[in-house]
């Protein structure tokens, strides 16, 4: 067994869990090599020392304040739902009905989709620079339908604030990387591409930080367009 492999197994043993076969082989090696015994002792001591690291006590009232903040947020959301969401849904339903009836065609909810690159949301006279948000890992919550709903909700918020110019979903198919020295195709999950307007880079980053999927381990790249570089 090489020294490097021995060392890795030594660390595995300290970190656990126990493994009878590995530990038996290690015991033999430890008997043969005093230096390895010494290293094992030091690693085990460092690992055991962590036991002394009891957490601080929470600041007084921290727990009560956190609970109150949660209940306040719950109350605010419930109030919003009660007073805003249902009237808006009813209004949207009436609008769909009227437009559908007027055009002689029923419009499905799909037709209320977000602006896309083909049909961007343009605001006359808006000269704020554009930033592309490359959104990865939004499906990592393990609940794809729920994740899409959260991300769509966020996109709608951006849209309602006149931030979102367009949004497209990027499908996890073979991605061609060109011009990187070696042209390759690889399959990787991507996610979404949003084009937004923001006053400056800091504002774009602040908006990107609100992406719901950051809470479950996703990422956002904020890419300035040429307008932002002027």
């Amino acid at each position: 067994m090489s020294d490097d492999l021995l060392r890795r197994r030594l660390i595995d043993r300290v970190l656990g869990p126990p493994n009878a076969e590995r530990d038996r082989e290690l015991d033999e090696a430890l008997l043969e090599h005093p230096a390895l015994r010494e290293e094992f002792r030091r690693l085990q001591e460092a690992w055991d020392a962590l036991d002394e690291l009891s957490p601080h006590d929470p600041p007084p009232d921290a727990r009560r304040r956190a609970l109150e903040a949660l209940l306040d947020a719950l109350e605010a959301r419930t109030a919003l739902h009660r007073w805003l969401i249902w009237p808006l849904r009813v209004a949207a339903g009436v609008a769909i009905f009227l437009v559908g009836a007027a055009s002689g065609v029923w419009i499905s909810t799909d037709d209320l989709a977000l602006p896309t690159a083909d049909t961007p949301a343009l605001i006359e006279g808006d000269e704020r620079p554009r930033y592309a948000l490359l959104i990865r890992g939004f499906e990592a919550s393990g609940d794809e339908a729920g994740s899409i709903e959260e991300m769509t909700g966020w996109a709608r918020e951006l849209w309602s604030e006149d931030r979102l110019v367009w949004a497209e979903r990027l499908f996890p198919e073979a991605v061609a990387r060109l011009g990187t020295g070696s042209e390759v195709e690889e399959t990787e999950p991507i996610g979404l591409l949003f084009m937004i307007r923001a006053e400056d880079r800091e504002a774009a980053i602040r908006l990107a930080r609100q992406a719901p999927h950051l809470a479950w381990g996703g990422s956002v790249e904020v890419l300035p367009t040429s307008e932002a570089g002027r």
Partner: protein, 181 residues
């Protein structure tokens, strides 16, 4: 309420039931605070991170599928809140203060020098290694769970744990004057 599962409590909370908040706090606050405190080394910031995590729970609770345990899921949210705070700290250090900003409340002094040395050695680890070591030592997570929580592979979680332990051992040995190459 206290007999409900975590998933049922979150669903109740999402539906606006205030009574569901208490049992969730009772079950998880202490462990989440301990994780944040050890990761950040500061109880005041840790309390902020946990509070922020519970607020994020309100916002993203619907995305909890129940595939992983609620505990692991919340640890991930607390971890993200902590990393945001660490990032904020770095940014504040990078930006010159134009106006006097009050210093944050310092953590209480550590009376035991051995523990103080340990805290210092732990804080010297990169956050990405420190979190893996803490999750393994104090929360008993498998490498697979740690990988899922940190958004890395199981193998990468194991490698980080190895490096973290080696670095911690070297830091403690050098501080105690018994460092060996």
């Amino acid at each position: 309420m206290s007999e409900l599962t975590d998933k049922e409590l979150i669903e109740a909370l999402q539906a606006g039931d205030r009574a569901a908040a208490g049992p969730l706090f009772d079950r998880h606050y202490d462990e989440l605070f301990a994780f944040a405190d050890r990761l950040l080394g500061d109880p005041h910031t840790a309390a902020d991170a946990v509070q922020d995590a519970f607020l994020r729970l309100m916002r993203y609770g619907r995305s909890f599928s129940g595939r992983s345990s609620f505990r692991t899921w919340m640890l991930r949210i607390v971890r993200n809140a902590c990393l945001d705070l660490i990032e904020d700290r770095k940014r504040r250090r990078d930006v010159p203060n134009l106006l006097p900003v009050p210093d944050p409340v310092p953590p209480p002094p550590e009376p035991d020098p051995r523990v103080a040395r340990l805290r210092q050695a732990l804080e010297a680890l990169p956050a990405a290694r420190r979190e893996v070591l803490l999750l393994r030592r104090f929360h008993g997570l498998t490498y697979s769970e740690i990988g899922e929580l940190c958004g890395i592979s199981e193998g990468a979680a194991r490698v980080r744990a190895h490096r973290a332990l080696l670095q911690l051992e070297q830091a403690l040995s050098s501080k105690s004057g018994t460092h060996h190459e």
